[in-house]
Amino acid sequence: MKTVKHTLVALVEDKPGVLNRIASLLRRRNFNIESIAVGHSEQPGLSRMTMVVGGDDARIEQVRKQLDKVVEVIKIVDITDEEPVARELALIKVKATPSTRGEIIQIVDIFRANIVDVAMDSLIVEVTGDEDKVDSLIELLRGFGIKELARTGRIALTRGGAGPLLVEEAKETKVPRQPLKPPREEAESPPDW
């Protein structure tokens, strides 16, 4: 079986200890996790978690099923096959001298990244994109000297429609179904890196 990185997205109740529960489960069952990102979702009281997990199909299926058993996990889906829009954000503090600053700014421009802080001896670069794009930029900047680096890990949404977490959720629950809002005109998606 092929080992690929899978993107799992989960809707979880926004309660204390949820992240701990999930992290503990992943550790206990010896699952290999690449990144995990958590934040509020579009539904109040619910957070959305995006996990990148490596392993063969059977392994990923186990991860998904085990996580689904956590009481606070309302729904969890593997969206890898749906070719989701996946992004991560990185902040890179890179050494910059008057002689290298211009070159760095050029590279940053090519990557459509931003300079968000300028100091005498350094710059902070903010870049958004898929992991490959972020990796490439980091590689290029490494030559100048990276002083600090922070990455968020992947977050992802499926394209079009209302998303796998919301739609099926509304179908399964007995709560009166909320009228789905008509899909908004999506902004033209930026070119994929």
Partner: protein, 572 residues
Amino acid sequence: MKKTGAQILCECLVREGVEVIFGYPGGAVLPLYDTLPQYPTIRHILVRHEQCAAHAADGYARATGRTGVCLATSGPGATNLVTGIANAYLDSSPVVAITGQVATPFIGKDAFQEIDITGITLPITKHNYLVLNAKDMARVVREAFYIAGNGRPGPVLIDIPRDVFQQEAEFVYPEKIDLPGYRPKLFGHPAQIKKAAELINAAQRPVIIAGRGVIISKAFDELRELAEKAQIPVITTLLGIGCFPETHVLSFGWLGMHGMAYANKAVQDADVIVAVGMRFDDRATGMVSAFAPKAQIIHIDIDPAEIGKNVRVDVPIVGDVKNVLQALNAQVIPREHMEWFSQLEQWREEHPALTIRETDCLIPQYVIRLIYEVTRGDAIVVTGVGQNQMWAAQFFFYDKPNSLISSGGLGTMGFELPGAIGAKVGCPDETVWCIAGDGGFQMTIQELATIVQEGLDIKIAIINNGFLGMVRQWQQLFYGRRYVHTRLLGPDFVKVADAYGIAALRVTDKKLVTSAIERAMDHRGPFLIDFVVEPEECVFPIVPPGAALTQFIEMPQEDKISPPSQQQRGGR
């Protein structure tokens, strides 16, 4: 109406039908203990160690099918529960554990007897709660019982700070449970059930492997209907023992490391396996890669995560066993499997496992068989872990569900006595036999006091071989007879029993076994028999760890026994 947190907790316990709590008081739970007398329908049983409170709640749950409740104070009280909670977790036993916690202002300050018990029990509970406000109490207790007892049962822990017990809140009993993330799937997928029926209808050499899920789901009649209608032999797991009458003509024993040789052969040769409410534990499957090589496997379980976890499955059916079997039975056609059964009978003759060897010595197998005969099988047997457990499972025949109560997944020595306490409290009209080893018995021996204080009529048989028998057996078979630290000096168990005020006998002579058991049965009140048995008796058959199910060793023939290769021992 306003009530204190402790009162709200008790109100909810009463509404959940709780009739007994196994507990041990301490500082953090004092407000609750102070409240308990206001609720006289709740009986409290004072154990001598919190581990036994959890085991007793577990034993109670297994014997009755109802949720067991245990209670301990913060810190050491809570940590002492841990083994018992883990035991309940691995055997899917519904237990609600209530612990006291230091008052909320002290949480996180390393206060006296503070421990993060929700953190500690995270991986061994189905779910757990820390109640920080009395107004959440009713909802939490309701949810806890719902989660513990529904779907695949398991332990749920509720940690309650001392001041929350005392805090007042409006008591409103939540009629509805709102748990959007917890909705067990109860009915199997019709398409999968159809596929399963087709497989069963076409099978030539089918077997059913029935596990504890059948007992939990109370699907005995459905299982029996399937077996009888389609003429399929029923093999159980260790924890499934009793879900199908062992004296039934279609019963073919239980499988696994110490299972019957013919059962293991049948599984390995089957073309269709109907696995019902079981989880393909490694002790049951032997070497997984060599498990049932010819079989298509239908796996019915309520826990989707169990399907495909250990073995490949051809037809997965997620649902409550009872519902699924009902749907399946409607589509299964009556069949005969004459050839298959004549093969099975031949194996049963070739491998007459479980015959008791002729000897004048007192051997444990004989003791168990006589307990079976004297009780006529009408008893709840609660075992320890190790040789005593395997012999109790092999030489007693169980026709009723929940008649064998044993620690399977965790394999907890010391479960026998507190487990028996729970079983007896839950089923006061049943005869309860606690079958212990001399090692495990010494782990929880203090509960003899609980038995006396509560007047529990429990019969105790110690299979006393002066060894940690199962470990010694492995040393004998796989470690060149080097008995490193397994020789066990025990106390005079008869004197110990006497000191606690329990009638007791020692039996060393084979001829006196029957009369001793009869005397125990005739005695009103608890009775202990110390059976001093052959010290180096082994449990056979045995599938060496890491070997395939068919590679069993049947007899204590020295030349047949060689240490397994490193690869074998390493498992898969």
